[in-house]
Structures are given as C-alpha cells and as structure tokens.
C-alpha cells in the first residue's frame, strides 16, 4: 500500500463516522451489498461532535491522503447539536488547511443519515477518485523527535489512572 507511484496510487482515506447515522448507513451499505472502493477506513466515534481537529492532522501525519467526516443531517443529531459543533470546527479547519496549502478536496464533511447507504457508497467513491486525482499527500517528514517517547510519560500515567476510576 505504500506504493506512491502516480500511476498506481491508491489513496488512503481515514473516515470518522458518527455511530448513529453515518456508521449505521455504512452498515446498511454493507447489508445491501453496495460495493465501493476499499480505500476508506472507518473509525467510529459516537458523534461527529467528538471529532477533534487534532485527529485530522494526526491522520495526515500518519500518512492519510484524505479525511472524511460523516455525521447526521442538520437537525437529526442523536445528541441534538453535535453535528453543528462538528460543522463549526470543520469550517475553521478547512480554512486553516487551505492556508497551509493542503488541497480542500482532501477533507470532506458529509451528512449521511442512517438510511442513506447509497450515499456512503457515492461519497466514498467520489472522494477516493478526487484524492486519487490529487495524488499522494507527501508531508515533509519531521526528521527526529527528541526524546522520542519519554516525554511526559508520568503526567499521562496519572491522567489515565484518574480516568479509569470515574
């Protein structure tokens, strides 16, 4: 999959789908055996409002060529307004990315209801083709990070212990 040759470029797209609408719609697409391109890998979150913009950059940094975010249609959020909050962050994120020179087709927010299996298929196919046209996202590697992992280990350990207890 690391073959980045222009002619045989297979884009890697990370998708964040909300549990109630888009993830369910993707399940429906499966149940209905709607085939689509295999380039998108879905990470389930409970609500598109959980999407932290850090995740998007993390995905790009790890080698994703595109990021797709799926949430419920406006007014349909299982958590009332989470999708609107996703939209707020997405709007600003998109502007930020274009300022950083990253093509706007590499990130996409779609409202897909639980019944719209066909839309999952359509959006994934479209996005795969769009990103394929753009070619791979070759970020400049961050040469070294020193010290690599030791940093703040202790603080994080504390944080995790706390979280588990609640």
């Amino acid at each position: 999959m690391s073959d980045n040759d222009r002619n045989h470029f297979e884009p890697r797209i990370v998708a964040f789908f909300c549990n109630w609408c888009t993830y369910t719609a993707a399940d429906l697409a499966g149940t209905a055996r709607m085939t689509y391109s295999p380039n998108v890998r879905v990470i389930r979150i409970m609500c598109s409002g959980r999407l932290d913009p850090q995740f998007v950059l993390k995905a790009f940094r790890e080698g994703a060529d595109g990021v797709l975010i799926g949430g419920c249609h406006p007014g349909d959020c299982h958590y009332q307004e989470g999708n609107y909050k996703a939209l707020r962050r997405f709007k600003l994120l998109k502007r930020f990315l274009s300022q950083m020179g990253i093509e706007e087709e590499r990130i996409r927010l779609e409202w897909i209801a639980a019944s719209e299996g066909d839309k999952v298929q359509k959006v994934i196919n479209q996005m795969t083709e769009q990103v394929r046209k753009l070619g791979p996202l070759n970020l400049e590697p961050i040469s070294q990070m020193h010290p690599p992992k030791e940093k703040n280990v202790k603080a994080k350990a504390v944080a995790m212990a706390k979280g588990g207890a609640s």
């Binding site: 399940d27 499966g30 055996r33 085939t35 295999p38 890998r41 349909d76 019944s115």
Partner: protein, 668 residues
C-alpha cells in the same frame, strides 16, 4: 490453524485477536488465514485465532477459554458490525469473568467483505481495521455500566388499531398507559372501513369493543385531540409534554347525547366532514361518528361563529343540560413521566391529484378508495349505497391499482394493501350494484392467509382483471359507445394491445404514505426515517419494532405500509418489548461518558455551554468543571473542545483514538 504464543507475565497487555469467517460472508472475500497471521505479528498480540462463526457458542467459548487460561486479557473480534454483535461478545467477556469493555470489534463484514469487490483489497482493509482495534485496545480500561431505574408507565402515540392494541396489551399487564391521539376520537383508519379483507367481517364490529375497552380501562389515560409537544430524558426515564387542544366541551360532563349538535345555529353541515373524507359536511359542533371514543362533542374553532366572531346565539349552550360547553377552554399542557414509548402514528393516503392524467378532482365520478370505503359503509354518508354524483347506480366501474405506488416519481414502494382492498371493494361494489368491475393491476399481490383464496373468489365472481397500468382516464369519446363515460386507456399486457374501457365510475386505489408531520414527530422522539419517510426500525429482521433510540418502539403503519393483521401483530410485539424493558426495572447505561481530569482543568469554562444535556457544571469551590455522569449521554463534544485535554471520554479517549488512527494507517 492458529498462532498462540506463551502467555507473557510482565504486566504488558495480552491481546487476543479472533477473526470470524461468518460462513463465507467474510471468508468468501477476506483471506482469513492471512489476516490471522498478520494479527499475530502486531505488538501486544498474544493469541490470534480464526473460527467459522465467532458469535456461536463454540466461538465464544474459544475466547472464554483463552481468557480463563490467562493467555489474553483483552479481546479483539474481527467480524460483523459492533451494532450487530458487540453486546453478544461483551456478555461472553462477562461470562469469563473479564471486564466487557476490554473488548473491541473490527467490522470486516459490513465495512469490508460485503462492500469490497476485490479479494486482495478486502484482505488488506481487514488487516488495517484489525491493526486499529489492536492499537486502541491496549489503552482500554475496565469500566462499569451504571444502572438507572425504569419508570413503569408507558406512552402510546396514536390511537388507530395499532395504538389501541398496544395500549390495551400494556394496560392488561398492569402498566399505566397514556394514549395520545391527535384526532377527537380514537379508531384511526380502521374505524372508517366497512368490511375487512379477506374474511369480510365488519370492521366496526371488531374494532368498537376494543375502543370502548380503552375508554373504560382503569390503567389507560386517554387523551384525544392532543399531541406530544416535547420529549426529554432517555430510556426508562422519559419526560413527555402533551398538548391538549381545547375541544370547548368538558370531557367529564359530556355524555354524547347530540343535543348540542342538533341545537347548533347551523341546521346543516358547513365544513367538510373529516371522518367521511369530505363526502359529506358537518356542523361546527359535532361528534365524529356514533361510536366515537370518547363519545364527546367537539367544537371546531375554524367554523364556530362564537369562537371566530364572538357573536352567536349559543343555542348549543342552552341545549346542554349538563353545562358541558365551555367557550373559555384553553390549551393545556400535561407532563408525564414514562419508561417506554410506542409510536403508532399510522399513515395517510396518497393524494390522487398529484397524478393529473387520472383526472381526480377534475371528473366528478372518480373516487379514491377511502371515499368508496365510506360509501360502501352502512354508517357512511350514502348509507352504504354506491352511486354516482347524479344518484344513479354505476353499471361499470374501473378500479385502478397502484395509484401513487411503484412509481419512482411518487412512491417507489409497493403499498402492500391496495391489491387486497381493491379486491374487497370490487366485491362490495359488485354486491351492492351488480356493476361490471374492471381491475387494472400491474401485479396481483396476495401473500397472506386466505388472500389468494379471496382473489380466486373474485375471479369466480367474474370480476374483470386487466394486467396493465392505467395510462390515462378522460372523457374523450372516440366512438358513440364511449359518449358520456369515463374512458380508461391501458395496455392489456397479456394480450399485447391497448384497450379503451368506458366506465361510469373510477376507483383510484391510492397507496399509503407517511404523514406530513412524520418528520417533526421523528425529530421529537429522536428516531430516524427511511428514505420514504417511514420510521426506521433498528434492524429490519431482528429488531423490527425497536428504534435507534432505546425505549422508543414502533407499531403499525408508521413503520411502513401494513394491513390490519400485521399492524396488530406488530403492536403486540412493541408492547412486549416495552414490557420487557419496564419489567426489568432498570436500564444499564453505556459507560462512554465524559469525565474531567481535575488536575488539568484550568476552569476556562469552554465546555460548560457546549453540553446539550446540561451535564457539565462549574464547581465553584474547586473552580473547575465537573461532569454529571448520570446526565452525560456520551457524545464527546466537550472532549473535542476542551483546550487542555482535561476532559476525556471513556472508550473514546484522545489517546485511544490517536492510537486507532496510527493503527489503521501504520501497519499493512
């Protein structure tokens, strides 16, 4: 074959990966062996196995054995969607004395094998999803579900046959039921029918006893002429506001004696009678029909002179000896607590005006099936007589099937009941008038007990069946025999020729559609709709009466077109599901709630206003935010916003998701 390593004992996580074949559902596309071998190479994985059906008992035992023997302490199952089997495997974890949240699913069926044409690509994608699950599960922590008690009352919305049946079932089981109906009476569409197919038993005879049972049941609170105004809370603990529209007649005083109706200053009907679908007119004060439940008069504010212009002799008030009429009645909001909700809001019929080539609304003798239902009803506007606008009996009648159905421009689906009710109407019309009856159909659909036999009966009654969808209905006569008639043009597809059939009367068998306000209703109850606008069930086969919102169930045609037997069966099922929920006494909430890591919270308050459930409050003493776990529903919006990462969400911590991202990309 499986790769099992010796259990490590240095305190590092021991992850077991179990890949399911799901028969050939997965194995037909994904190279299971290759994914298992791959999983075995991932960090922290101590066991990687495969099995034909992981969700089966032996499959679960495979996991449980590894857990008990200490080979693994956390589990990844690569199989179907977590929405399908996550509860199954979590139960298996519990049975093996493991914490159910040290578990993660990789969805390689719905998201991979069923949607990926290429085998190689499917295998690679499966590996990526497994790698992601393994990467995140290392960070999973044991969690506990919280238990919340369930209110034992139930709410049923809609008083048609489905709602009535569900309410009675729950009430008979000893539960308190609130039945809310937006019309002035319960009964729904069924109350309008004359006979029911295929048995031809009288609709009123079987329905009215159930209606009065509702009225008299000590456990049922019936609110007609009312609508649900808002729903708050969650499974087991809903808080529902019901808006009771003023009927200007005191329900507890009125005995339904009709004196007020007779006394109304209008001696004749002035407004289209809703119950007779516009075939007759009613007065401003009225009782929908003699068996209306509750048998209480209602005043229509749109046509009552007193209410509209405040000047009327108010003869109705004088006529009512019990003093039940009250022009000062105001809208009332009732608030109730319930544990479960059943939606049985039904359907509306297709508006035949939308198909202009059928001439409904233009030519006088074209009726919809519901209008004919009223016409053939002995209690209806014509006393059961079928006649034309000029009072004559029709000698030829054409029944047009699939009006608005099976057409991608209107409703693409089959409305499921029209074939059968068309047969019923054909029979009744022939019985009442002796007319020649022509049925124009695309396909005859009679799958039901006694249905095909009914079709055969009609064939023997010499009703004509023409296989062809009607192209056009007009008064365009081309030969003398057609003069003054309605001409139906259709291809007789079995003959292969176009036919023109002159008739006196046309019945349009209109399809079923979701109510206009279905979208508002579903928003209120936070459930989904299918493309067509029907309420969406949780699973078409395995959870046909549940919705994606726990505690909200579906009954009858609001979920999709249904005939009476199916509606009643589904209503019973919904009532049983609601009872199962209520009788358990408590619900367990997913522990995916947000929590504050206090030492990192600077008290910036970014999160407080973001929570739609007011679960976050500001602790003035500590000067930091705190989350009320009982109110938190686990969306994680606050977590995404928290500027110092002090807020985290169980099962979806930043770390876990970041690891998942690494996993999904870095391996393979």
């Amino acid at each position: 074959m499986s790769t099992a390593k010796t259990p490590s004992s240095n305190g590092k996580p021991k992850v077991g990966v179990y890949v399911c074949h799901c028969g050939i559902n997965i194995a037909g596309k994904v190279n299971v062996q290759e994914t298992v071998d791959f999983a075995g190479t991932l960090p922290n994985v101590t066991v990687a196995r495969e099995y034909k059906f992981m969700c089966s008992d032996p499959g679960q035992e495979l996991i449980q054995k590894d857990l008990r023997e200490g080979l693994v302490d956390r589990v990844v199952v690569a199989s179907c969607s977590p929405l399908m089997h996550e509860p199954t495997f979590r139960r298996a974890m519990i049975a093996a004395d493991a914490n159910p949240f040290l578990f993660q699913m990789a969805n390689i069926r719905e998201h991979v094998s069923w949607v990926t044409p290429d085998k190689g690509a499917a295998t690679e994608k499966s590996k990526a999803l497994i790698a992601a699950a393994v990467a995140r599960i290392v960070l999973h922590k044991p969690l506990e579900k919280t238990r919340v008690p369930v209110n034992s009352n139930a709410l049923v919305v809609g008083g048609g046959i489905a709602g009535i049946h569900a309410a009675l079932t729950l009430a008979d089981a000893g539960r308190k039921v609130y039945l809310v109906e937006k019309e002035p009476t319960i009964g729904g569409h069924m109350a309008k029918f004359d006979k029911t197919f295929p048995t031809l038993d009288c609709s009123a005879c079987i329905l009215t006893p159930k209606m009065s049972a509702v009225r008299s049941h000590p456990n049922i609170t019936l609110w007609t002429y009312s609508e649900v105004a808002g729903v708050e809370g969650f499974v087991g603990n809903f808080n529902v506001k019901v808006r009771r529209k003023p009927r200007y007649v005191k329900e507890d005083l009125c005995v339904g004696c009709y004196e007020c109706v007779e006394a109304c200053v209008f001696k004749k009907g002035v407004t289209k009678d809703e119950f007779n679908v516009g075939l007759s007119k009613r007065r401003p004060i009225y009782i929908p029909f003699p068996q209306a439940t509750p048998l209480v008069a209602v005043i229509d504010p749109e046509s009552c002179v007193q209410i509209k212009r405040n000047k009327c002799k108010k003869t109705c008030v004088d006529a009512c000896e019990r003093g039940a009429i009250d022009f000062d009645q105001k809208e009332e909001i009732k608030e109730v607590e319930v544990g479960a909700i059943i939606l049985a809001t039904g359907f509306k019929t297709f508006d035949a005006r939308r198909i202009s080539r059928y001439g409904y609304g233009k030519y006088p003798n074209i009726y919809t099936s519901l209008e004919v239902e009223r016409m053939v009803n002995a209690a209806g506007p014509t006393g059961g007589e079928v006649h034309l606008k000029n009072g004559e009996k029709p000698r030829t009648v054409g029944i047009v099937h699939c009006v608005g159905s099976r057409d991608s421009r209107t409703n693409a689906y089959c409305s499921r009941v029209c074939c059968m009710y068309s047969l019923k109407l054909a029979h009744l019309i022939k019985e009442r008038t002796g007319a020649e009856v022509y049925n124009f159909y695309i396909d005859m659909r009679t799958p039901g007990k006694g249905y095909e036999e009914f079709y055969e009966k009609l064939l023997k009654e010499n009703v004509h069946f023409i296989r062809g969808r009607v192209a056009e209905i007009s008064d365009w006569a081309t030969i003398p025999e057609e003069e003054g008639k309605l001409v139906i043009r259709a291809e007789d597809t079995l003959v292969g020729a176009v036919r023109r059939i002159p008739v006196d009367m046309v019945v349009l068998s209109v399809g079923l559609e979701p109510h206009d306000d279905a979208d508002d209703v579903r928003r209120k109850f936070n459930i989904s709709c299918s493309h067509e606008g029907w309420f969406l069930e949780r699973h078409p086969k395995l959870a046909p009466v549940s919705t994606f919102t726990d505690g909200v169930f579906l009954a009858g045609a609001c979920q999709g077109p249904k005939d009476i037997p199916d509606s009643v069966a589904q209503a019973g099922a919904a009532a049983a599901e609601a009872l199962a929920l209520i009788d358990k006494g408590y619900v367990e909430l997913e522990p995916n709630t947000a929590y504050v890591q206090e030492e990192f919270c600077s008290g910036c308050k970014t999160c407080v206003a973001l929570c739609p459930y007011s679960a976050i409050s500001f602790n003035v003493e500590k000067n930091i935010s705190s989350v009320n776990g009982a109110l938190c529903k686990g969306c994680g919006t606050c977590v995404a916003a928290c500027p110092s990462g002090a807020l985290q969400q169980n099962l979806f911590t930043d770390e876990q998701i970041l690891h998942e991202i690494e996993g999904v990309i870095s391996y393979v």
